[in-house]
Symmetry: C2
Subunit: 774 residues, 2 copies
Amino acid sequence: MATFGDIGVAAAFNIFGALIFLIAFAFLRLQPFNDRVYFPKWYLKGLRSSPSHSGTFVNKFVNLDWRSYIRFLNWIPDALKMPEPELIDHAGLDSAVYLRIYLLGLKIFVPITLLAWAIIVPVNWTNKTLAQLSQGDAGLTYSSIDKLSISNVPFGSPRFWTHVVMAYVFTFWTCYALTKEYEKIAVMRLHFLASEKRRPDQFTVLVRNVPPDPDESVTECVEHFFLVNHPDHYLTHQVVINANKLAQLVEEKKKKQNWLDYYQLKYSRNRGKRPMAKTGFLGLSGDKVDGIDYQTAEIERLTKEIAEERKRVKTDPKCIMPAAFVSFKTRWGAAVCAQTQQSRNPTVWLTEWAAEPRDVFWANLAIPYVSITIRKLMAAVAFFFLTFFFMIPVSAVQSLANIESIEKRLPFLTSIVEQPFIKAFVQGVLPGLALKIFLIVLPTILMMMSKFEGFLSISALERRAAFRYYLFNFVNVFLVSIIAGSALSQLDTFIKQSPKEIPETIGVAIPMKATFFITYVMVDGWAGVAGEILRLKPLIFFHLKNFFLVKTEKDREEAMDPGSIGFNTGEPQIQLYFLLGLVYAVVTPVFLPFILVFFALAYMVFRHQIINVYNQEYESAAAFWPDVHGRIVYALIFSQIILMGLMGTKGIYEAPPVLIVLPVLTICFHLYCKGRYQPAFVRYPLQEAMMKDTLERTREPNLNVKGYLQQAYIHPIFKDEEDDEDEGFNMKLHDSATVPTKRQQSRKTTPVPSKFSGGSSPALPEHDHEGSLS
Amino acid sequence: MATFGDIGVAAAFNIFGALIFLIAFAFLRLQPFNDRVYFPKWYLKGLRSSPSHSGTFVNKFVNLDWRSYIRFLNWIPDALKMPEPELIDHAGLDSAVYLRIYLLGLKIFVPITLLAWAIIVPVNWTNKTLAQLSQGDAGLTYSSIDKLSISNVPFGSPRFWTHVVMAYVFTFWTCYALTKEYEKIAVMRLHFLASEKRRPDQFTVLVRNVPPDPDESVTECVEHFFLVNHPDHYLTHQVVINANKLAQLVEEKKKKQNWLDYYQLKYSRNRGKRPMAKTGFLGLSGDKVDGIDYQTAEIERLTKEIAEERKRVKTDPKCIMPAAFVSFKTRWGAAVCAQTQQSRNPTVWLTEWAAEPRDVFWANLAIPYVSITIRKLMAAVAFFFLTFFFMIPVSAVQSLANIESIEKRLPFLTSIVEQPFIKAFVQGVLPGLALKIFLIVLPTILMMMSKFEGFLSISALERRAAFRYYLFNFVNVFLVSIIAGSALSQLDTFIKQSPKEIPETIGVAIPMKATFFITYVMVDGWAGVAGEILRLKPLIFFHLKNFFLVKTEKDREEAMDPGSIGFNTGEPQIQLYFLLGLVYAVVTPVFLPFILVFFALAYMVFRHQIINVYNQEYESAAAFWPDVHGRIVYALIFSQIILMGLMGTKGIYEAPPVLIVLPVLTICFHLYCKGRYQPAFVRYPLQEAMMKDTLERTREPNLNVKGYLQQAYIHPIFKDEEDDEDEGFNMKLHDSATVPTKRQQSRKTTPVPSKFSGGSSPALPEHDHEGSLS
């Protein structure tokens, strides 16, 4: 068991680490040559361009204005200042709602922390159980943290009723906060959808499993079917083409082009020596050839192949998938078609809302529907094995957390490990870090699984990957940390127990693992989030690319790697903190402030990142909220069951029956929320559709919807082809489609970083610039 | 443990009982004065009327034609002869599909029985485990039935692989039979819906939770909403009125009228004495008054009250519920409205398919939607307690099954109980009978629960009650019989086991309880079904009523009690047999023939009853099939888990992992079936709707749909009012709406029972009559 001192050292480490990250960030972001790393969002929106050539040469790279360094923490108020509606305009509803998850964490846990410290901590502290036990025969060592936890209350004490009552209070508060939030977000979503501009996906439905017809092509078949069954509403359609091979070729060509650029640059710097390359695997084996010539030949070959493939794809009926994007004259017609069953046979003519064009995951549209069931099964089995076998290495690493086991197994290390500083380090930082490294590769695997499963939109892919990641975290971070650790320290007595006693096993282990999870929160939560803002990897890569490859402004544009929120990794992480917070709220309230710091820090950091960095890849209008809500409710129920198990071992036999009401009530609450709010995230009400249709008809009676929709759902490969000539024009079009923010005007006229404001964040409104001058 | 002899005695008892019922039925049904008890369906359809007055007076009551008695078993071929399409015309799709459940039982279990007897029985029989054990120290007694079961295979024997392989074979066969049946029934349903005549529910949607509007009445509000949101399709609507009090008054009046009739009849027979009645509780207390005068006064009072209430209901806005039946111009419009969400707020403007007018459960339409969630929770809790506390008396009765425990507790009974005949009776008949009595009151309670829960159609009520009844049967008949019996005989060792070992506990107990369930099948299945055909209760009641009350032909019509299939009790009973059959198929194959006899007998009996007796109360077009299918799949999975548990104790440690694949595959199969066939039972495809609309428009271009629908969904209370004058006319209208069967013509011209055919079933076609003459 770690003492307050150990925790203090670990906290100092992590706070120090986090501070270094934050200070480094505060310094680096002020340098103009890092501008594209720390403010890419503004470049993408076209509201900012490369530093102007006014000023000295040095000024272009280094910020010499000393005043700006004084206010190096300014980014925090700047990040918090942008009001929510503007944030929605600026970064989309998804991002704004994503931030609200952190806010929800604060809303739930601030009152819980206050109550827990005001009531539970004194109740726990004023006992002497642990002190007595440590004097007894058991020779138990305990830390002062344990004195604040439920372990310090004597067996059978009526004081446990405090914990039972507080469990009720916490549950009601959490449910209340969840309802309020669900309601608010449902309103935000509906408001967002209602106030939105015309979007192709409002009119479009994706039809899958068009039944094969010997006499008609797919496109004729679709047209006839919808002309017959939706005669008043059908407008046009776009058959889905399997262009995966074409996309692959284009990708390959792009890679070769990159290499060619690289070789040419190399040659231009060192005229004497033609760059050589090997043709084999990764350029490590095979014949040595002239790099420039080889790549040029390859590109020519690929260009030809692409042209052929492009022709083939358009004519070959094998490339035409039995699926189509069907567009309707009105939103009403699309809403009707998306929500109804079309045909007798429920496995053909399947309709669903089309995703936003940029959200569509084109590669998966080519997957035949029949194989999807099998793919789902295979993905489930694969995930099961992944979760199961991952446990082995994690358990091994976990055993390191126990300093005594190191001494036992590697006795020669005892003298080193016993030094207080190293002991604290090993106990405080290692286990969290090891776990983190394990978890870094995981999201990629999970995304691949989701892709394999055949989801049709990026948002759905990410939601699925997030669900899997959460499950994985739950089993491999939470459960394994608790049970494996306990199993080692309690001599495997628990392992072979029956499922009925699992809540007790976990419940008993929970207070003992509090210190481990405190260090985990500090490493993963505090330092991890602080590291996020520094963006070390994009920073390095940008400068490498900038140095080696960038020739034109467009190259520089491409060298930027703004990244995105990463719902599939970020949300499960937050959920783990919700789970930990709810589980420890009653048991070890000393845990709660650590969670609060995480939520507050992460909220600030991600708000800054969303405003200044991340690129919005799609807009699902907060479609992920039911998932978020459901997982918090799950964590709540889990915490109640664990508490029940724990109470069962504490000699208060009336407590478990009283506590069993809680999960029942929570499940009812969940069902109520599901009925009340979930439809707002799944279906599109006809009333809404009709209202928007009517409004539009009145405002723009001569609108040509068909022209608007005709090209909306063309595979991006073919779009590129058409746009090849006028890419710039298209870019501009796309930009003008985004909603201009209020400060667009001022931004464009202000050279950034301006000399006056000294590189304070672009999120700073104009009047603030003036304010800082006065 | 019972021996073959015991089983033989029990079987003899039950077969004897069943035979008595069948012979009594064969005799009674030939008597003309029982005609309305055994052939009410034909009276209801208007294809048969009271015995004609030709012939002697005796002939009207007793059948004196000796030839008809010779062929007293003729009802069986007669019942089987009617082809299925005609049966659907005659008794509706629900009835025809209900019969197919029994057929499905035969389809599944005939091949399984043959295979089990050909393979498993020899494998079990040719071992000597039980013989050796009984000679050993344990002193175990065993019966010859156990020698045929899995208990006879020695521990760790490789012979158990036969059982594993057979479990696979049985699972695949069952799944195959289930798919075929699901497919067939989905086709039947769609065909039925497609070939059906115009029905009001095809055009109508029930809208609930119309939001209150301060400026508009409910009817205006509904009209405006649908005119705006379904402008091209909305036709008319009918607001739901809370007429429950009115219905109550009408009911009361009817009762008083009955009493008046009774007193008048009494008075007319005994002119000297005015019949007296007491006004208090149940006519047992209170003042004595003149019966006729009192009832006449009461009826007058009620008539007045009814008139007032009728007026009030129509004008009082409090009686108008925020719900309405909204009718559309086309089926397409109704299908769209029923399947889509109407409003932003998903808890208002809820739409669902309207049930058939005669299927609507009017009393529940008045329940406000908000209270339904609470009602559901309350019903669930009540059901939980019902299931839980029912266990206590059942367990007590179960302990009687064990003759040794009787001898232990009541030693003075030993001499009586030890007599072989009584011993067999106690062991064979008592436990099944006791259980049956417990279960008789249950369906009424469960139906009340469903009504309380607020389902809107009788079919939904019955489906819910069936689901609960099945759960109840599963816990209180199946599990309690197995575990309580085992717990008593194995000295409570199993009771405190962990849930992980439950499959093992049950698995081990299963072969031991085979004899109990065999007797249960004989009592509940064989004798019970044979009793069903005799219709003892309706027979007695009809003759009592006929003797005391009937004055006119209409009274006699009302005295008939045709009953209905009773899905809420019948289906769970069949499901229990499916469960038993699947569980015992591998373990104790000797059980299977008993199940087969049940399915065959029940099929014949219920086919006869459906053709000749039961009145069709509603037509849900086999909407219950997904429930039936789901429960059989559940039974299959349960049987697999139990087998796994059993195998775990048999020393074959590779068997459980091999068997665990089975439930996984079965769940996948279930999901596949759900995706493939279930939508056909829940949603109404637009293609279908459009086809029927188009057809109708072509055939009847001038059809007045509005006129057709205007009065369709008026509360039956108000319909009565309008029909009061021309009830007879209305009856005729209703009759002509039923599809005429092929033999309608011949039936009307043939006096029934004719002298030639000697009262053979009316299901006998005309050419058969001739056949029996030649």
